[in-house]
């Protein structure tokens, strides 16, 4: 039993010109059996900060609940939203707290920071942060995602082109993974609006 391959997931985030996109698949399975085909893996922390959680679904949900709790407290005390960089450090520290009994999740964090500069990062299940300027990936389909993003990505894409690119990268990668798929969930975030779209993919 591979704990990271119990539920199955694929999450990816990409940076564009003054915008970012974050996408995930929609499958929830118990090993090979598909249980749900509209399972949410990307959560909103605030309107310019998103977190996608791949890995064990129960840990992803619990971790999300803890993070929302911490962010709400922060908002009450600081009277402002958290910056993405700060949030990433918070996630990292919460994960490392459980160093010897970790949450089996690999988060992907994407947000617009100061001056609406796009920020993305990923980390492993014990909080090792990986910052990137172009794209980050996570989940059972991560290796396919690396390949797809590396070849399809180019810098400074406008929101519409970014949407196309991240969608194609996601769909082609999950098609090579037994445990992820059943369509996609894509958020494209600019300083002024958030566009949420559902992709129709192979249902196998």
């Amino acid at each position: 039993l591979q704990i990271f391959e119990y539920n199955g997931s694929a999450v990816v985030a990409m940076v564009g010109k003054n915008c970012f996109a974050i996408a995930s698949d929609r499958r929830l399975g118990v090993q090979l059996q598909t249980i749900s085909t509209d399972f949410q893996k990307i959560y909103t922390i605030h309107d310019k900060l998103f977190i996608g959680l791949s890995g064990l679904a129960t840990d992803a949900q619990t971790l999300y609940q803890r993070l929302v709790f911490r962010h709400k407290l922060y908002e009450l005390r600081e009277e402002r939203n958290m910056k993405p960089e700060t949030f990433a450090s918070l996630v990292s520290s919460i994960l490392y707290e459980k160093r010897f009994g970790p949450y089996f999740c690999q988060p992907v964090i994407a947000g617009l920071g100061d001056d609406d500069k796009p920020f993305i990062c990923t980390m492993d299940s014990i909080g090792a942060k990986e910052l990137a300027k172009d794209f980050v990936v996570s989940g059972t389909a991560s290796e396919s995602l690396y390949g797809a993003c590396e070849s399809m990505f180019k810098p400074d894409m406008e929101p519409d082109e970014l949407f196309e690119t991240i969608s194609q990268a996601l769909l082609s990668s999950v098609d090579r993974d037994c445990l992820s798929g059943w369509g996609g969930h894509v958020y494209v975030v600019t300083p002024t609006e958030v566009t949420e779209r559902i992709l129709k993919g192979r249902m196998d």
Binding site: G8, L32, T34, D177, D204
Partner: protein, 201 residues
């Protein structure tokens, strides 16, 4: 996925089906071959020809099922040369069974043999792990078949026409592909209406 997975033996977590109708048989399968959770081939062909009039659906270990099919093809062709007429589905299935049963400790493959001969018409033989041989009006196998037992209980009936049988097979494989992570890709079917010619879809 890890390096272990990429070098793991290819397995065809699969859905395979054989349904006999009035005048022949329809065989169906998905097209996904996986190594661990990576999809090694998304357009594989799991329905293999043994003779002009007998086909086999393969599931389980890709290597094991391929080698068994190859040996069966060899032995059947030799048998046909001696016999002087097309092989019966029963003899083809029994050759498969002899190999599966005789090498049961080494093999991990479940097979469904289906075809048409002039003595018995359309017949389906199921040969699961271990080498049991079972003649059935319809057979399902592979990891995706778990999701189809209830469906077949409800949807299968005796004396179907060719069109009904083909539709049933396609629908069933599609349903299993939807639920089973180890099945996917396209639905391949083969209809064997008699020993003269065979149709591919």
């Amino acid at each position: 996925i890890t390096m272990d997975d990429l070098n793991a033996p290819h397995s065809m977590g699969t859905t395979i089906i054989g349904v006999s109708y009035d005048g022949g048989v329809v065989l169906g399968a998905d097209s996904r071959t996986s190594t661990g959770v990576y999809v090694a081939n998304r357009a594989s062909d799991k329905i293999t020809e043994l003779t002009d009039n007998v086909y086999v659906c393969r599931s389980g270990s890709a290597a094991d099922s391929q080698i068994v099919s190859d040996y069966v093809r060899l032995y059947l062709h030799q048998h046909i040369i001696q016999l002087g007429q097309p092989a019966t589905v029963k003899s083809a299935a029994n050759v498969v069974r002899l190999l599966s049963y005789g090498n049961k400790n080494f093999l991990q493959t479940g097979l469904i043999v289906g075809g048409w001969d002039k003595y018995e018409g359309g017949k389906i033989y199921s040969i699961p792990l271990g080498g049991t041989i079972l003649e059935q009006p319809f057979a399902i196998g592979g990891s995706g078949s778990s999701y189809l037992y209830g469906f077949f209980d409800q949807a299968w009936k005796e004396g179907m026409t060719r069109e009904e049988a083909e539709k049933l097979v396609v629908k069933a494989v599609s349903l299993a592909i939807a639920r089973d992570g180890a099945s996917g890709g396209v639905v391949r079917t083969i209809t064997v209406p008699n020993d003269r010619y065979v149709r591919f879809f």
